[in-house]
Amino acid sequence: MDKPKENTTYDEKDLPIVPAQLRLSRSDDGQYAAHWGEHRATVHVLRCFPWTERDAYFTVRDNDDREITLIEKLDQVDAGTAALVQMALHEAGFLFEVVRVEEIREEFEIRNWAVHTRQGRRNFQTRRDEWPRRTDSGGMLVRCVSGDLYHIPTDDILDPQSRKLLSVYVD
């Protein structure tokens, strides 16, 4: 496909477009571009409800943070675009997936976690008053002092030792 020139001169009044008009492409360097009519814009895709409704309501936005379209369900776009939306969401929604909890140590004003994640082994720290919170979609989330999010799956997926360590922090 010939790569149309970046066109950010589209009229804001014409936005958002209907999802069916949207075609998404991904360049080798990982950038996503939205195509509709004669227009093309580099975009990013975000979930509107990352924890309460992960499989619906995706907003496609350009570099000036204008909404190009709001996709309620992935069946509103063609299969290729839907696949790219999912890929973009995977990248944008990346967080550390904890698979095993090795240690949770209480220290001065912080809690030190040693965990194994799908991405590798990681140590992180949370404030003593920063508690894990349950998510509607299952599991729980912990935010470390740097702001990284760690998703800990539902208890029955974890080994007994991890569950025991976590028992203090969840009901």
């Binding site: 970046e6 360097d29 929604g93 002092v145 990284d148």
Partner: protein, 765 residues
């Protein structure tokens, strides 16, 4: 320990990445660049497949490089010339940010890297410098290792007080505070030692009474003989001795408790004094890195917790150890067979108590969490009660609260079930030991010939009494581990404040300007709050005494930074600021600030009367001077109308007054100080037109004959300025009088004035 070493220690201790770029990596990158030095670096810790990795992103004067070396493979270096970078694109995600370095449009990105939020601060330094380069500003940075270490350690340091000393070090340091109170310490220790020693006397006297007085007398009577002479007298003496021992014990307890409680208060008072005194010395940069609530609790609740520890914790701990060892020895010496029954299971009792303590700690952690949820609801709904009522959500909020309340209650029940089950069990074990002593001892007292030789009734009874005292120290020592932990945490937080060094200090022989004339010169001043992101760049201003200068520009342009530097709240990164020709760093800062007046957008009034607030800068100003200042500030009339007039107590932060009234009191406060240099930072921006007029009128009186720096978004208020400086992106882009700048049709000032006029007309119609 230096700040840099602390940062590196934090990185080593809490992260899985190096605390600085390895020499070999640096060497290879610099060789690849042909000798260019690494100026800044950061770690990209996520690869394209979102796995954890360690790719060094290094910035040199002309290049950016990505260095990666997997285990056992050759290093790969991807280098990009900085002058080919046309743009930077960032894709922030929940826990991963991707950055693309872009070259020519429609060509693939020059480089791409991903990183988690942990690396964000270090990465932002690199991004900032590249963005500035794209915008045409060149910034050179040195001290790459320090900047990296500070960036990586920042989040942990924000969450935690100093981490570079052990619990024991902190306790020793804390105990140094009792040194000045040798008399109190001696009395407290003496009281405690005597109390402990005297506690051991009644069982000994009981033994003597039974074995040496009662038993021989009883035996004599059984044999039909007379009671030996002096028996009754001796018995009465011993009984009296037991009574005296009990009385003395209470006396020593009183001496110990009183002196140690007072000692604890003395130390807590000294700590509060030192911390508060030190807080006054610290620079604004310290305050901007700490939450106000946290600092308040360090002076108040943390020092209070230390009182508890010093008053009772330390001595109780020492005494418990002494008591336990003494009792163990006495029991073994009284009868080693029975003594072993008590002494041998002691480690087991300790282990059981400690392990139960660990479980309790977990349970407490759980209820603290639930308590946090409960109080969060209160913190949410009570300030927002109008919204709750307006949306008729009282029932919903009640249900939300009840759910958390129930959850907290269940947590508490769990704790109560646990300790009420454990302590009876522990005492059951302890009583089993006592019962075993009886089982083994009674046949011996009766002379039945097994479990050992015959045992006198006196030895047995005194043994029983010592046994009763044996569980106390065990309980104390278990309790002490928690107290020690709590006190060490508080001490850490307090010492962190005491260890912080003020950044703004006077030189040894500072210059005093008496009085300040008001000539102000900024010579190529550059400044960055964090050492990297420059907020002011090469700003040069030459202001004559008595001039009024207006600072104009968008939010974040650097206007308030100019006034912060002029007040020497921060030291400049480069260039010089001269007051009456003298470098500001050479000037006695306290003396200089007394001749500086500041009126802020949100003036802070202290709790106290209006007269106290007006006199804040000059506490001994006469009442005539106060009234004159209030008149000049257009404040006298509204103050006089109040029932308590100048003696009206204004509430916390002066909230009982309107914004305009508080502003006029702050102007009166500034007028009374008769400052030579005056800073007006958005002084009229948050009041209505009529109040603004009154404030404006007051300000016009205030600025007469002074050098004035005024920041205002309402440009009409700056018409009287001799000169206006437009600051954009840290630079002065326009300067001149109001009329001169208005005539520059494409100028920023002219555009701003036009926009404000249009806005005014829009609302007027």
């Amino acid at each position: 320990m230096s700040e840099r070493n602390t940062d590196r220690e934090i990185i080593d201790r809490y992260t899985d990445q190096p605390s600085e770029m390895p020499d070999e990596v640096r060497r290879q990158i610099e060789a690849h660049w042909g000798g260019e030095p690494v100026q800044l670096y950061a770690v990209s810790d996520l690869d394209a497949s979102m796995k954890l990795t360690c790719t060094w992103v290094a910035l040199g004067p002309k290049s950016v490089a990505l260095f990666h070396q997997a285990n056992g493979t050759a290093a790969s270096i991807h280098s990009v010339q900085r002058d080919t970078i046309q743009g930077l694109r960032e894709f922030p995600g929940l826990s991963c940010t991707q950055v693309l370095l872009l070259g020519n449009p429609d060509e693939p990105a020059l480089a791409s890297f991903r990183y988690s939020h942990r690396q964000r601060r270090a990465m932002e330094n690199i991004k900032f410098i590249l963005q500035q380069q794209i915008a045409g500003h060149r910034i050179d940075v040195s001290a790459a290792d320090d900047v990296y270490a500070e960036s990586m350690a920042h989040a942990v340091k924000q969450a935690q007080a100093s981490v570079n000393s052990s619990e024991l070090d902190v306790v020793w340091r804390l105990l140094a505070y009792v040194k000045p109170y040798k008399w109190e310490v001696s009395m407290g220790v003496l009281g405690a030692v005597l109390m402990t020693a005297i506690s051991l006397v009644p069982p000994y006297l009981t033994r003597y009474l039974l074995d040496d007085i009662v038993t021989p007398a009883a035996t004599a009577r059984e044999q039909g003989n007379a009671i030996p002479d002096g028996t009754v007298f001796m018995a009465l003496m011993v009984i009296a001795g037991i009574g005296v021992a009990f009385a003395l014990r209470q006396l020593f307890i009183w001496v110990r408790m009183r002196t140690m409680a007072v000692l604890g208060e003395l130390v807590a008072r000294d700590l509060r004094h030192h911390v508060y005194k030190h807080l006054q010395k610290l620079s604004l940069s310290f305050y901007s890195s700490k939450k106000t609530g946290g600092l308040i609790s360090r002076v108040s609740s943390d020092t209070d917790r230390l009182w508890d520890f010093i008053a009772f914790g330390v001595l109780d701990c020492v005494l418990a150890i002494v008591m336990l060892i003494s009792l163990g020895v006495i029991l073994l010496l009284s009868d080693w067979r029975l003594g072993l029954v008590m002494v041998l299971p002691t480690p087991l009792l300790f282990w059981a108590s400690y392990s139960h303590g660990g479980k309790m700690r977990h349970m407490f952690l759980r209820i603290w969490r639930r308590w946090g949820d409960l109080t969060a609801i209160l913190a949410d709904t009570i300030p927002g009660i109008r919204v709750v009522k307006a949306f008729n959500q009282e029932a919903y909020e009640k249900k939300r609260f009840d759910t958390q309340n129930e959850s907290f209650y269940e947590g508490c029940l769990h704790i109560h079930h646990s300790w009420t089950a454990f302590w009876p069990l522990l005492f059951l074990a302890y009583h089993f030991m006592i019962w075993l002593v009886w089982v083994l001892a009674v046949p011996r007292v009766l002379g039945m010939g097994f479990f050992g030789p015959e045992l006198s009734i006196g030895v047995f009874i005194s043994f029983v009494m010592y046994m009763g005292m044996y569980v106390g120290p065990i309980e104390s020592l278990v309790r002490m581990t928690f107290m020690l932990n709590r006190a060490a945490t508080s001490a850490h937080r307090v010492f962190e404040v005491l260890d912080a060094e003020p950044e703004i200090t006077d030189i040894d022989t500072p210059v005093r300007l008496e009085p300040v004339k008001g000539d102000v010169v900024f010579e190529n001043v550059s400044f960055a709050y964090d050492g990297v992101r420059q907020v002011l760049r090469n700003v040069s201003i030459d202001v004559k005494a008595g001039e009024m200068i207006g600072l104009v520009g968008p939010s974040g342009a650097g206007k308030s930074t100019v006034t912060n530097l002029l007040s020497r709240f921060y030291d400049i990164s480069s260039g010089a600021i001269r007051i009456d020709g003298v470098d500001l760093k050479q000037i006695d800062i306290g003396h200089y600030r007394r001749q500086l007046g500041i009126v802020l957008q949100d003036p802070h009034l202290f709790h106290g009367s209006i007269v106290e607030n007006i006199r804040y800068g000059i506490p001994d100003a006469s009442l005539d001077q106060v009234i004159a200042a209030a008149r000049a500030a257009n404040a006298h009339d509204f103050i006089s109308r109040m029932p308590h007039a100048y003696d009206t107590v204004v509430g916390e932060r002066g909230h009982t007054l309107s914004g305009g009234e508080r502003q006029r009191i702050s102007i009166a406060r500034a007028i009374l100080c008769n400052p030579r240099i005056l800073i007006l930072d958005e002084a009229t921006s948050s009041v209505d037109t009529e109040t603004e007029y009154k404030i404006q009128e007051a300000l016009e009186r205030l600025i007469e004959g002074r050098t004035v720096f005024a920041i205002a978004h309402r440009l009409s208020t700056l018409r009287k300025a001799n000169r206006l400086f437009v600051i954009e992106d840290g630079r002065i882009t326009e300067q001149g009088t109001h009329e001169e700048l208005l005539n520059k049709e494409d100028g920023t000032y002219a555009k701003l004035v036009k926009m404000q006029q249009q806005l005014h007309e829009l609302y007027a119609t």
